[in-house]
């Protein structure tokens, strides 16, 4: 129960940070995606179910905050969570480079899906420009933050587990 409350809190904090502070660290309009980091983290550590639920909830919040149609972010995060969760079962994900690579590829896939859905809704939009100017740089920026964010989340989990008297196996 407590673990689920903390998980919910983590999602809400990530959404709030994405809506406020992340804009301050953006470079020429390119910002990292904290929700994606969270989805990939849970996919690697807890499996695809937790990741998909994280993506669904986070996606709903993101759709509300960015005033997109409900389901736009949800679909993208859920697909990424499922794929990364399945791939993560077959990969040795201990090495930081693997995690960074997973986040980068997830960012690309997420961005492509997002642009595709947007293109279906509005065929007049310039999808290629958005992919080159926003999706790829954003995926790169998010991948750069991976080691720091994952370290913080890992330490939080260990502390919580220590408080619970649970030994975590890496």
């Amino acid at each position: 129960m407590r673990k689920n409350v903390l998980w919910l809190l983590l999602i809400v904090v990530a959404v709030a940070l994405q809506a406020t502070w992340v804009e301050a660290i953006g470079v020429r309009g390119v910002m990292p995606d904290l929700m994606l980091l969270l989805v990939v983290y849970f996919a690697v550590n807890d499996g695809d179910e937790r990741a998909m639920l994280t993506g669904a909830l986070g996606g709903v919040f993101q759709d509300v905050v960015t005033d997109k149609v409900l389901g736009h972010h949800v679909l993208c995060y859920v697909v990424v969570a499922f794929v990364v969760g399945r791939v993560g079962e077959r990969l040795i994900t201990d090495h930081p480079a693997v995690k960074v690579g997973l986040v980068f590829l997830s960012g690309i896939v997420m961005g492509l899906l997002f642009v595709a859905i947007g293109y279906v809704q509005d065929p007049g939009s310039s999808a290629l420009y958005v992919i080159l100017a926003n999706v790829v740089p954003s995926a790169f920026y998010t991948a750069v933050l991976t080691p720091a964010v994952f370290l913080v989340l890992d330490r939080s989990r260990r502390r919580h587990a220590a408080m619970q008297g649970v030994v975590l196996h890496d």
């Binding site: 406020t20 301050a24 509300v64 149609v69 409900l70 736009h72 949800v74």
Partner: protein, 315 residues
């Protein structure tokens, strides 16, 4: 039972499928179920309300924290901005002070030049050539007028306050003036009050600017504070102020010396007049009018003794 087991085994796939279907349903049906003119569907409005209720406190907290951080950073950046601004203002202030000093100097120069002009108008008998003092070295002034401007040796240099000195050397564009500080300088003078005649010698001393009033008799009427002016015998136009007696003459010998403080400080002079010409001034000790000559008693006083000291004492 088998169904339950299969559901449990494929739970994640079922969750994935369910979420994807829900998302696609929302995306596809949204344009159709949204009321005309409304920005959101009823379901989205409910979700917005719920999401806002959950995230609003966090967003407010993070906004407040980022405001504090911005304020703290602003203090640092504004400090450096203020430092830069202070530096600029200091430079502007220094420039303004220079301009004010220049303005004040110009005003002072204007006042001096007006005074010189007034002096020129008050002395129409003197032909005066204004000159600027370029430098002073041991009591010798260098002025910016020379032979091309009509300056000649032995001409005298004066100001409205009195005698400065005489021209000792001339070049085409400059000239040098021996002042009352120079040992070589001599000028025939008289005491304005008692008409006692004498010669003022330059002090020739860097530390004392007092000049000597020589060739006055022990019994001559010279008192401390008496005004000393140029006499008719000197090469200077008569009546020009030389200085004031600062120390009365001593006693005990035939010829005594008094000390005169010059009226003009050559080290503080910036502009002078060179007397290029002068008409004869009326002698203020001239003989009485014609009635006197006809022998009528006018009750006038006896003629003053106009002889020099040497003439008086000559055998």
């Amino acid at each position: 039972m088998a169904l339950t087991r299969r559901v449990v085994e494929n739970r994640s796939t079922l969750i994935f499928a369910g979420l994807v279907l829900l998302s696609l349903a929302s995306l596809v049906t949204e344009p159709f179920i949204r009321p005309v003119g409304a920005p959101n569907t009823p379901i989205k409005r409910m979700v917005i309300n719920a999401a806002s209720a959950v995230t609003y406190p966090f967003i407010v907290a993070f906004d407040g924290a980022s405001g504090l951080v911005s304020g703290a950073v602003g203090i640092v950046t504004s400090y450096s901005d203020m430092e830069a601004q202070t530096r600029e203002l200091r430079e502007e202030l220094a420039l303004s002070q220079q301009r004010v000093a220049l303005f004040e100097e110009t005003m002072r120069e204007n006042d001096r030049l007006r005074a010189m002009l007034a002096f020129q108008r008050e002395n129409p008998r003197l032909s005066l050539l204004p000159a600027k003092v370029d430098g002073v070295n041991r009591g010798v002034l260098t002025i910016d007028r020379g032979s091309l401007h009509g300056v000649r040796e032995s001409m005298c240099a004066i100001t409205k306050d009195g005698v400065v000195g005489d021209i000792v050397s001339v070049t085409p564009f400059t000239a040098q003036v021996n002042s009352l500080h120079e040992a070589d300088f001599k000028i025939g003078v008289k005491v304005k009050r008692s008409r006692v005649r004498g010669v003022v010698h330059g002090s020739g001393n860097r530390f004392s600017h007092f000049c000597e009033l020589q060739y006055i008799g022990e019994s001559d009427d010279v008192l401390r504070g008496d005004l000393i002016v140029t006499s008719e015998e000197s090469r200077f136009p008569s009546g020009l102020i030389v200085g004031r007696v600062s120390t009365a003459p001593g006693s005990g010998s035939l010829l005594v010396t008094a000390y005169v403080e010059p009226a003009v400080n050559p080290f503080a002079v910036e502009e002078v007049y060179v007397v290029v010409g002068a008409s004869a001034a009326p002698r203020d000790d001239a003989p009485p009018p014609a009635a006197e000559a006809s022998g009528e008693s006018s009750g006038a006083y006896a003629m003053p003794d106009e002889r020099t000291v040497q003439e008086k004492l000559a055998p």
